[in-house]
């Protein structure tokens, strides 16, 4: 990807939320990491016995964690960890480019942790995982994401014996 692409994508993402057609145009040109052989892991137990975590790319962080770096033209591939019991009032939103009014009113519109707790209480899933994770959605340097931070998040999910993850963008 050239620096011209980086500059165009950066300019576009700042005004795209105001113009949905531009958002689609941008999405078609965004250098998403192509997947040829899509992997698929089957659950080895019923969903009602599974431990489930959330992973959001909404740009959330906690009040004692640094916000995501929104100024880096290549994006920010770091992650934030959210313990299950975190009071909802401690969640913050980085200076994201999307409409933040929904999140400001109800965290569940991008990070449905309360809904997941309810489904666990109702027996649809076995239990809610002890840790959840957050990234920001804008990451051009996907190699760094795959090599370092995504690998680290996968390791932590395995430490927690998490069976499944629901990914939510914003």
């Amino acid at each position: 990807m050239s620096w011209v692409d980086v500059v165009l994508i950066n300019a576009g993402r700042r005004i795209a939320p105001l113009w949905p057609r531009l958002f689609i145009w941008l999405a078609k040109r965004y250098p998403f990491r192509a997947t040829r052989d899509v992997p698929l892991t089957h659950l080895n137990k019923p969903l009602s016995a599974c431990r489930v975590a959330l992973l959001t790319t909404a740009g959330l962080h906690l009040d004692d964690q640094p916000p995501f770096d929104m100024k880096n033209p290549l994006g920010d591939w770091s992650f934030r960890e959210f313990p299950r019991s975190t009071p909802r009032a401690r969640f913050r939103l980085s200076d994201v480019q999307y409409d933040r009014r929904g999140v400001d009113h109800d965290l569940n519109v991008v990070f449905p942790l309360d809904r997941l707790e309810e489904l666990a209480a109702g027996g649809l899933i076995g239990e809610v995982a002890p840790r959840h994770f957050g990234f920001m959605g804008y990451i051009l340097k996907t190699d760094a994401l795959v090599r370092s931070t995504a690998r680290e998040v996968a390791a932590r999910l395995r430490q927690d014996a998490t069976d499944a993850v629901v990914l939510t963008p914003a």
């Binding site: 599974c50 009113h105 809904r115 309810e118 499944a164 993850v165 963008p169 914003a170």
Partner: protein
Amino acid sequence: MLEGEGIATVCISFVRQISERVRPPRGLLVPARGGFTMGAPGDAAAQRRRLRAALALLESVTDAGTLAQEVVPLRN
């Protein structure tokens, strides 16, 4: 990455063009806009319904790269 580590995933998406390019192992395409992925703020029933639909794909999908469309109930 996660699937390769033995962790099943399902990705909720509201832009078909992105999902068709990225091809998550299991995808749920929902009628939403940026910042409102799970539905309207305060609408717990709709958010729960959407999350249930995503979780159901963890058991029902047998082909990698399946992109399902959320079935939205009609309003009276």
